[in-house]
Subunit: 289 residues, 2 copies
Amino acid sequence: MFQTRLEETAAQVAAHLTHVLDGYPAHPVTDAMRYAVQGGKRLRAFLVMESAALHGVDPQQAMQAAAAVEALHAYSLVHDDLPCMDDDDLRRGLPTVHVKWDEATGVLVGDALQTLAFELLAAEQTHNNADVRVALVASLARASGAHGMVLGQAQDIAAETAGRPLTLEEITALQANKTGALICWSAEAGAVLGQADPTPLRTYATALGLAFQIADDILDVEGDAAKAGKRLQKDADAGKATFVSLLGLDGAKQRAKTLVLEAEAALSPYGDAAENLREAARFVISREN
Amino acid sequence: MFQTRLEETAAQVAAHLTHVLDGYPAHPVTDAMRYAVQGGKRLRAFLVMESAALHGVDPQQAMQAAAAVEALHAYSLVHDDLPCMDDDDLRRGLPTVHVKWDEATGVLVGDALQTLAFELLAAEQTHNNADVRVALVASLARASGAHGMVLGQAQDIAAETAGRPLTLEEITALQANKTGALICWSAEAGAVLGQADPTPLRTYATALGLAFQIADDILDVEGDAAKAGKRLQKDADAGKATFVSLLGLDGAKQRAKTLVLEAEAALSPYGDAAENLREAARFVISREN
């Protein structure tokens, strides 16, 4: 059930983003935007759709928010892959935007995908109540800007030249910013759209986000580059602190499992209706990419 | 009067942006954001404040929108200056962000300044009516994304490798996207905040934006690099079509003057109250930077 829903959501959000971008002026930058938003697990979109379903939100409205967070995530990947950042030439098994086009296109595509995220949230299709739409804009800005994702990315880059490996506390804070904030936004979005209390979903997503990142570090050591669709062992090669280097492989796996139990427990107010979200939590530590 | 108001607005918007960024986590990226939003004529902020004054909007609310458009403009400058884009090392008389810090910081600062623009507009301080706030978010997204500013920037880069100079029609369309859309948004913002018809201000700003760009091309040929605070004659050196190369120096000056008359005429519904905006139109074709 979970795997089917994840794949359905991935197909739907890809189709919606393609549909939206087909309304944009024809230009190589638009082509590259369409390319950059394809592929991926779409975990963030899935969290939006499932949390929205828990609150009886119209799926077409939720899809707008799901597409927004995927556009924002895609922007961050395109910019992260740039030569002056992580310098990656492979993403989701395909050449990165700056490799397939050029660096200027990579910068512009990322810029325009960020704009698209806010454009989607502000559109009437997202919710008939402007207070809800503007709350989604404000919270996505907080999650992704210099107090969220961008701060985490900057902390990650700074860690490489810090002259010492990060502590567990530092790396936990870094990851909460870099990937956790957007995962939290995604899970909370359904409650915001349903004008309900987002606290249980926030607790769920905070544990989920950390488990996700620990699993990423485990995959970086144990994973198969072909399945992951990207270069592995980068962090170990760079001598960077990771959850695996700090906790050991077994310790990291144990910590991830505990976090998944925490995430599942947070969903108790929703009963059986949240089973897909519980499965999502188990999935993030068992995935191969 | 106009010059005083322009300088007052510049000081106020710089102070407001500094105040907002002081609430952000301390980090070199935040320092670089603070650096990137300093200086400049603040024409866009001025247009917001003056158009807001015409509609009796609370200046503190208008200042939020003025700061938003200046943050967005600053993001576009930081990214445009990157080595893979225009590769400029001087901006507003100071080293560009990627020169003073590094390229990764330039990418991240631009990203975070774009986010800041939407964050400011979505905040309750901008307007007590969420419909107004979300309308400002939606229109800024349209003005700045892949159907506005980013499209214009991409068209500008593409023009360099097109193998032929652009026609007057093409360069007019390019500039309407690259700089015109944001100037229009700024002038219209006051009407949107005042929940009034933005048509006269849109007509005014469309003419103003084109006059501004023609004046930029004239400055690029006739200007003083020290006063401009940036490298000049770049377009001529690159063999790019400009309004001067297409219309001749006298033709370009005549066209800019006609546009200023058009801009002034569009403000007739506002009578004498719009005198500062009329002076702004005359200013854009007489400025030295």
